[in-house]
Symmetry: D2
Subunit: 354 residues, 4 copies
């Protein structure tokens, strides 16, 4: 049935396996007249790419984006914008030994039961590598949002290995490899990651995301609520196990009188427990959400599993894997947020007769 298409008006269709020829994305529905800054795309890809710091995998992937269509003199023409990223550094050999075994914590067994085929090459389509196509599309969505409403999206490491960012300095985020807004916490997070890596293990964390300059009124009633589509987008990322908006799970323990945000003249709110979304529609306040990310399942410690023959196997996953995916999933979360919001920005044009 597919599943690699996303969006209503700003629609993306992605393709590609971690160890195939290439990955890519087609954006159908990008309005004409948007100036495409190739440097913005390059920067977003660089934020996601492996090998950018000691906290991530040592694989080096350059991830050059080739724009194949949809622009003329770097202005969007209204036709589909396709972007291609060649695979260059993948070593299928790293995975040859995994051809007949299901890695714990991965989609291997699910794919095998679903399709009857074992694409052993690094997870194939279920690899985190597919997210590079999302980041390319997200960079375009960010440019569109910036142009339309000045909407800005910023995500960061709220927690890694149980260590929480206690302070929030937005300038700090991109300065440390953990992408933490708390410089001191960032150091502890790096240490925890290094410790896990040394032990052949991995750690997880929580990513926080804040969106500013979303006008009130975005989101569609009932199913296509703004938070519903953001949740859909975030849970579509491998390794994400939960999402919460505003006060999230803490709201479950509050009284109505505590949780309700009082309104102020001018259409502002005294507080923002709601995280900028009420009844699925943006309120004009900052959109705030948190995403839980599990520890990377690829670890070199020995684990029990089974092979395609159904028999027990022990497995120790070698190769170059991220001991913590948080720093690299941050730009992906921003990208998916941008893709969702770009779609709603366009949908909003059809809400009223005039």
């Amino acid at each position: 049935m597919g599943g690699s298409c996303f969006g209503n008006i700003f629609k993306i269709s992605t393709f590609g396996e971690s160890h195939g020829e290439a990955l890519g994305v087609v954006i159908d529905g990008l309005p004409a007249g948007l100036r495409i800054d190739r440097e913005v795309i390059r920067q977003e890809m660089a934020r996601r790419r492996p090998g950018q710091s000691l906290l991530t995998t040592s694989r080096q992937e350059d991830d050059q984006v080739e724009i194949l269509s949809g622009i003329l003199d770097d202005i969007s023409t209204g036709t589909p914008m396709a972007m291609l990223i060649r695979n260059t550094s993948q070593r299928s050999g790293d995975y040859r030994e995994l051809a007949e075994v299901f890695r714990p914590g991965h989609a291997d067994y699910g794919y095998y039961t679903k399709y009857g085929i074992r694409d052993y090459r690094g997870g194939g389509r279920s690899s985190g590598r597919e997210t590079c196509a999302r980041v390319a599309a997200g960079a375009v969505a960010k440019m569109l949002l910036h142009s339309l409403t000045g909407t800005n999206i910023r995500a960061w490491a709220g927690e890694i290995a149980g260590i929480k960012a206690e302070t929030f300095n937005p300038e700090e985020i991109e300065k440390n490899p953990a992408r933490s807004p708390d410089k001191e916490a960032a150091g502890k997070m790096a240490q925890a990651i290094a410790t896990a890596r040394a032990a052949g293990d991995s750690v997880g964390g929580v990513v926080c995301c804040k969106v500013t300059n979303v006008p009130p009124g975005w989101g569609e009633p009932v199913f296509d609520k703004l938070d519903a589509k953001l949740a859909y987008a975030m849970l579509s990322l491998g390794g994400v196990k939960g999402i919460s908006f505003g006060d999230g799970f803490a709201a479950a323990g509050m009284l109505g009188s505590e949780n309700n945000d009082a309104m102020l003249p001018g259409g502002r709110f005294a507080t923002n427990h709601a995280g900028g979304i009420l009844g699925g529609i943006s309120t004009g306040e900052e959109i705030l959400f948190s995403v839980a990310v599990k520890p990377t399942p690829s670890i070199s410690r020995e684990q029990s599993t089974i092979g395609t023959d159904g028999n027990s196997r022990q497995i120790a996953i070698t190769g170059r894997h991220d001991p913590c995916i948080i720093p690299r999933i941050i730009p992906v979360i921003e990208a998916m947020t941008a893709i969702v919001l770009a779609d709603f920005a366009l949908m909003q044009r059809c809400a009223k007769i005039k």
Copy 2:
């Protein structure tokens, strides 16, 4: 742009306002040959309806479902199955005074900025009353799943007003008005709800959901992951502020070696930290997720807000409102789960060439 349609193959389109003529749903894509048991629909509607216990609103809505099409001699014919629920007990008068004021915690302001129209009649389309159409469709989805794979869905109150269910007795759930699997906790929950109501306030909670007999392999790669679509469905419910799968946010603090579920011969798993979904595909283990629900925003305590004229107003919401929506959202969560899974069950038929 709409937003009231949901699903790929098992598609629903819902309509209706809380104080309009009627609510309803059209299911397009229901396969032919399913026996429709009207009693199952009636029971699910009864579980959701107001006035069923002292813990919920005292409004009495009978919510009779009329099947308008799609069946012949109570067997589905393959054509759209439309179901209609007339509004009978709604008192628009209760809301007349709200015509020019935005209720805190509600979608009122968002709808107004979106559409330029103030449908003051109890929230109109943003009212929780729209969920009765989902429950009717969900009852059909449950029958379809039962017939195809014996899939069973069961949700309960995991926490209300900060009080957690500490034990799990499935037999207990439908026996107490809180729908808690822990009889003792149920009593405390009821007490907390009564206290909040007496204070003109409200409480929230956490709903847990467990699905058994989902074969491995359901879910579609990349965007239409099984958990992504469940998150989409759950966050489409008004008042839901978060969702987590398996160990959820706790997984963020675990090591990979703790969080990975070892596989056992026969395609089973030694543990189920993943909550039955890996890489967006079902593993064959129980699907487990939790949903955070905020306290009901309609409270009779006085709150600060503004009117449609932009000026400050004080508001005390009278009328008959649920002091806690948890008991009544449980069947709705089951319904949306069924609708999502019915769709994946059918999509799965197209995964392989044979």
Copy 3:
């Protein structure tokens, strides 16, 4: 898989069988702020209803439309607009004898092989009666188009039983029961229909449709061309066997220098061989197309067929059937045209960044 949903932004979902409880439609994506004139809906339904003249079936169906949702004080609110038409006059008894036989020229055999079920009640979902839901939705689409761009849609009988309209007087169309713009031809058409009816037979014809005030630029590149979607809509009507735009099949025999329409200053065209659409995009000229409609398959003359048991049967279809469907399909063709164009009018809002 369904098939009863249509449209991208202005989306409709229809339901109902000819002899079930009711038929209806849900419009999801109607912008807020449109004044709904119930009299327009009533008039369009009256144009389609049976029994309006001696040329059509003598069945009397009142086809009252009840609006269930989506409006407040007769202004659209932006939420789904559901409309219901109860079946009142259907006599299932007329069809009882058809329960085990496949009518020639009908979808009976196809539905039976598809679903394994024989809904004998007048064709069930494949009956022309389903079009009453389209006409209700089309009336709303007409109002939307009128409000947005003053777009006007007019269809007529271009040919019935081989008799062509030779003159074009738009005032004449709704004055004669054939809906011919040529008064003299209308008389001959009526005569030919009467003759066929007397012989237990039926006749077909060609409907022409003209749309004025469509701005240039409507239609989407590649698959969702304006003519492609109109063809999709027209061929979705039972009994339609062909469609052509502008010079249509005659264009196949022309030279490029004859068929090309020269452009004039001001963005007009010297001729309109193209029928107002080039490369799938409206040119601003009148949109012109013709639709071939086969003779009604329900005839009282004896025909050879088979039963559900696979054995030969003779059949003479009694009951009240249209000897020619042209007069009654004309408002349906207008309705589908309006539904297609309303969708493109809204899509057009997303073509450019500003």
Copy 4:
């Protein structure tokens, strides 16, 4: 809003301009387990490519297809199959002089009013060159259909420049450059094309298509009728001005007793006036339809038009253009037919509960 996506389950998303970097297609929804024969793709591309005979443009385009994803050892894996065709032979210089003028009979003016941008490079996205992506996807659809049901699709020139094929020899079709099943007519067609070319003019024609081995029951009720989707697909091809099924427009002049196809024991039909589709559902008989194609609008004879400044201009289109597109649109029509049918073949899996 896009418009470059097509299909429900077997979904394609195409991209690329005639003079951009590349064209391509992503197929999302191809079931796992299909053997992909690269030679079949190569052959279909060769049938469409320019320069294959004296009847077509002398442009030489190799149109090599690179498969980027979705297969492992030439077996489909169930994930998106992306195919890329680089532009190599395009000479933008040919079009430089067209940068400020609208070509008659082309989409130039429509695109300009729609997007506010003049992509002068050979029509950009509206060029017939986009169809090479359709042919690549169609080759895969053909393999899928062959594997599932042995369905076979064959199209031919039924008429060129008013010259009709009077005999039908299927062996002959691919032997003459006109792709006519009538050898003698083929010679006359070639002569007529040569004459038009010499005069700086062009001719059109009618393509006939026949599909065998479609089981009864394909097609979805109401909007997604089999013929409706085929009409949608065919009218999405630039230059197509009409389509008819079975007896088509001739059926409009027949009596019901002539047009109805009597059924025979075994579920066959005595005649096939319907062209294999009744009520939008396949009957099991051969599917037959005809497509009207206008003469190529690019002609070297001088024509009147206007420039982007709105002023009158004379234009004589130089460059290498097809004087008749019929021979090269034939494989494209087959491809779109295959894409539509592959989708219905998969949809059919969801019609019944078992």
